[in-house]
């Protein structure tokens, strides 16, 4: 295989290698290097020994508590309770029937009825089906209301644990950076909550809509409704929005973050101001307040906001430079800046990327060195166990080698296949990034030309993928031609491209893993007779999925 004498892998690379998190090609390189380099093998050994310590830590420390305080309950009973509670109306009627049982039976039946009511009540409060519907409805109405009465530029009163400031919501074109609100902004951005318009039903609903799980609570306070959504997870764990009953205008919001910070935002009533003069007044915190709270200094409010479209343009530039394939680059967007971060990228490549992005406004590019690896301590160097393929796999590989005319051919094939699988995975990762950064809701905010741009980038990746997979099939043909496998092709389950991308991604990962096992770049569980059939099935399925995916995405282009 090519270049066994590569540089010594970084420690993180070694860790990723043993954890099977490296792409097949890189993994194969590290493997060849390890075969050649004692020093790195010793380092790997050390790493494994630390991992071993962690495992015994897990075993020892919690050993005493492995037996929970009470025996585990019969989970089927709980399932039955859930099933009963989901069909709550019938249960309610039953409970009512129990309660209206003849008086002489009260002593006998009342406890049962009460117990049933309690069970029902518990599950009711746990799942809150109605509040969730109520909340969704209310928010939807509030969004419509807000759309029909476009908001005037109004002022917001923002309080945190320690600060009290005022900002305007007006989006005026004033490029002054707002360092004052940045720490608060960072909290909202991290939580995926639209900071440009924090006090609106739309932003609240957008955030709420993306939660994996949530509990809603709606309280009617005669002149206002309060919607409280408990996210249960994520940066923003709990948010409350108060809407005026009369016109569903947002009055206040309270946001509780996972780091114990909270932010309260209140609209300052009917006080419209000239949008060109954003005001931000700061009151010094009380002396006893914590220094760790977000520091807010006097500064004008953010006055423009970057959209998903802006992010797409940056991504398109990177795409044109091929920098969305395999380069470790991350893009993130706040309301005031698009941040492009590259890690461990060579200086030449850095210049390419820099010039591809050019002088787009509000884009910050920065490059980080990859994490420095700690020097191998020679004193601990000890002979290492062999880290090469298992005898089973070796045997299997030589069988394949015989089939295609010798070891040299096999090595060549392995190298070609792994050379191909890496860019293939890069394509899939690039598609996945598109799906993640532009979910349906975000995509719908894009302008028509931007949507077209998005689909053009997507189409280019798909074209690349199709070509790579057919090339892969061609390469593998001599190995797989004799395999009899039930090539069960499965269609994509999703009809929109974002979830379809995830399916495609999972299929690609399976294929990549099998290729890596087959060609000795990664240890695998399924070795031997099943492997070729698995690989054939996986490849056929992946090709079918790529075709299906092409259809899903071209449907959208029109």
């Amino acid at each position: 295989m090519s270049s066994p004498h590569m540089r010594h892998p970084e420690e993180e690379e070694l860790l990723r290698f043993v954890d099977g998190e490296l792409p097949a090609r890189a993994s194969s390189q590290v493997r060849s290097h390890l075969e050649a380099c004692w020093q790195c093998r010793a380092q790997l050994e050390e790493l494994q020994s630390t991992i071993g310590q962690c495992v015994s830590y897990r075993k020892n420390v919690l050993h005493r508590h492995l037996q929970p305080p009470t025996p585990w309950p019969d989970i089927y009973t709980k399932f039955a309770e859930i099933d009963a509670s989901i069909e709550h109306p019938s249960l309610l009627t039953r409970a009512a029937r129990f309660l209206s049982w003849p008086l002489q039976n009260t002593r006998k039946w009342a406890p049962v009825a009460v117990a049933l009511l309690i069970v029902w009540g518990l599950w009711w409060s746990r799942f809150r089906i109605t509040p969730s519907v109520q909340a969704a409805e209310l928010l939807q109405k509030a969004i419509v209301a807000a759309d029909t009465h476009p908001a005037m530029a109004h002022r917001l009163d923002i309080r945190t644990k320690t600060r009290h400031i005022t900002r305007t919501t007006a989006k005026v074109t004033n490029a002054v950076e707002d360092s004052a609100l940045q720490s608060i902004q960072a909290l909202f951005v991290a939580a995926n909550y639209n900071w440009d318009d924090p006090l609106s039903a739309k932003s609240f609903e957008a955030w709420r809509d993306h939660l994996a799980e949530r509990t809603d609570q709606v309280t009617d306070q005669h002149d206002s409704y309060q919607i409280r959504t408990d996210a249960g997870s994520g940066e923003l764990k709990d948010a409350t929005l108060t809407l005026r009953s009369q016109d569903l205008a947002p009055l206040a919001g309270r946001f509780e973050f996972s780091n114990q910070e909270w932010v309260e935002i209140t609209a300052i009533a009917d006080e419209t101001i000239a949008p060109t003069q954003p005001i931000a007044a700061t009151h010094e915190p009380a002396p006893e307040s914590h220094a760790s709270a977000p520091a807010v200094a006097t500064s004008p409010a953010p006055s423009f906001s970057l959209t998903p479209g802006d992010e797409l343009h940056v991504l398109a530039s990177l795409h044109n430079a091929g920098a969305d394939l395999g380069d470790p680059i991350e893009i993130s967007r706040t309301s005031s800046e698009i941040l492009v971060t590259g890690i461990g990228i060579s200086p030449t490549r850095q210049r390419d990327i820099q010039s591809a992005i050019g002088a787009q406004p509000h884009v910050t590019v920065h490059f980080l060195e990859s994490a420095p690896s700690s020097a191998t301590s020679e004193k601990n160097a000890k002979p290492s166990t062999d880290n090469t393929a298992s005898p089973d796999l070796r045997q299997f590989q030589s069988r394949v080698a015989d089939q295609i005319g010798g070891r040299a051919n096999f090595e060549q094939l392995a190298s070609d296949v792994l050379d191909l699988s890496e860019p293939m995975m890069s394509r899939v990762y690039a598609l996945r990034r598109l799906a993640e950064r532009f979910p349906a809701a975000t995509e719908s905010q894009l302008s028509a030309p931007d949507r077209q741009l998005l689909h053009q980038i997507q189409a280019e990746h798909i074209a690349g993928l199709r070509q790579q997979t057919s090339e892969l099939s061609r390469l593998l043909k001599p190995v797989l031609s004799s395999v009899r496998g039930s090539a069960a092709t499965s269609e994509l389950a999703s009809s929109s491209w974002q979830p379809a991308t995830e399916e495609l991604f999972q299929a690609a990962r399976r294929l990549d893993k099998l290729l890596a096992v087959m060609f000795g770049a990664a240890p695998g569980e399924s070795v031997g007779d099943r492997l070729p059939a698995d690989l054939l099935a996986s490849l056929t399925q992946f090709r079918a999925m790529v075709e299906g995916y092409t259809r899903v995405s071209s449907k959208l282009e029109r």
């Binding site: 954890d19 790493l47 492995l66 929970p68 009470t70 089927y76 799942f127 999972q506």
Partner: protein
């Protein structure tokens, strides 16, 4: 296999791991047990709604993690559970065959684990439960590459302290 059997089997297989993970988050044993059970019931409810879960184990730990943290904030008055302290007390009779030196070494390692940052520890514990980087990332709301970096730092720190 019907849905109940499916979830029951997962419960059987993974409940101890979830329970142990919740202890490592600082939940006291009774709460940890209750929370662990709750996680599987949520899985049941979610699957009953017809959602497909690609990787149930990853899902279980993601929910356990979030639910665990929420429960922990609620038990604030009690202070968080520290399995390490328990270990130090019980270690001698737990491993009578171990030499003093070995035990010393183990205690030193445990101290080192305590000194890891919260995020490093979480990545490490989730990795110990067999989750892959993208799965850990999904549970903690960070990118897989950040998971790699946290793990590297954790391992590097532990290695240094272990010497």
């Amino acid at each position: 296999m019907n849905l109940q059997d499916q979830v029951a089997q997962l419960f059987e297989e993974a409940r101890d791991d979830v329970y142990r993970y919740l202890l490592s988050l600082g939940l006291h044993p009774p709460q940890a047990q209750e929370a662990a059970q709750e996680v599987f019931l949520r899985l049941y409810v979610t699957m009953k709604k017809g959602e497909t879960i690609q990787n149930p184990r990853a899902w279980i730990f993601r929910v356990a993690h979030n639910f665990g943290l929420k429960t922990r904030t609620k038990q604030n008055t009690q202070g968080s559970f520290d399995p390490n302290i328990e270990y130090q007390i019980t270690a001698p009779e737990l491993n009578p065959e171990q030499s003093l030196l070995e035990r010393e070494q183990k205690l030193r390692f445990h101290k080192a684990v305590e000194r890891l940052s919260e995020q490093q520890r979480r990545c490490l514990f989730l990795r110990l439960e067999g989750l892959r980087y993208p799965e850990i990332g999904a549970a903690l709301g960070i990118s897989p590459s950040a998971v790699g970096e946290f793990l590297r730092r954790a391992i590097a720190k532990l290695k240094k302290d272990e010497l």
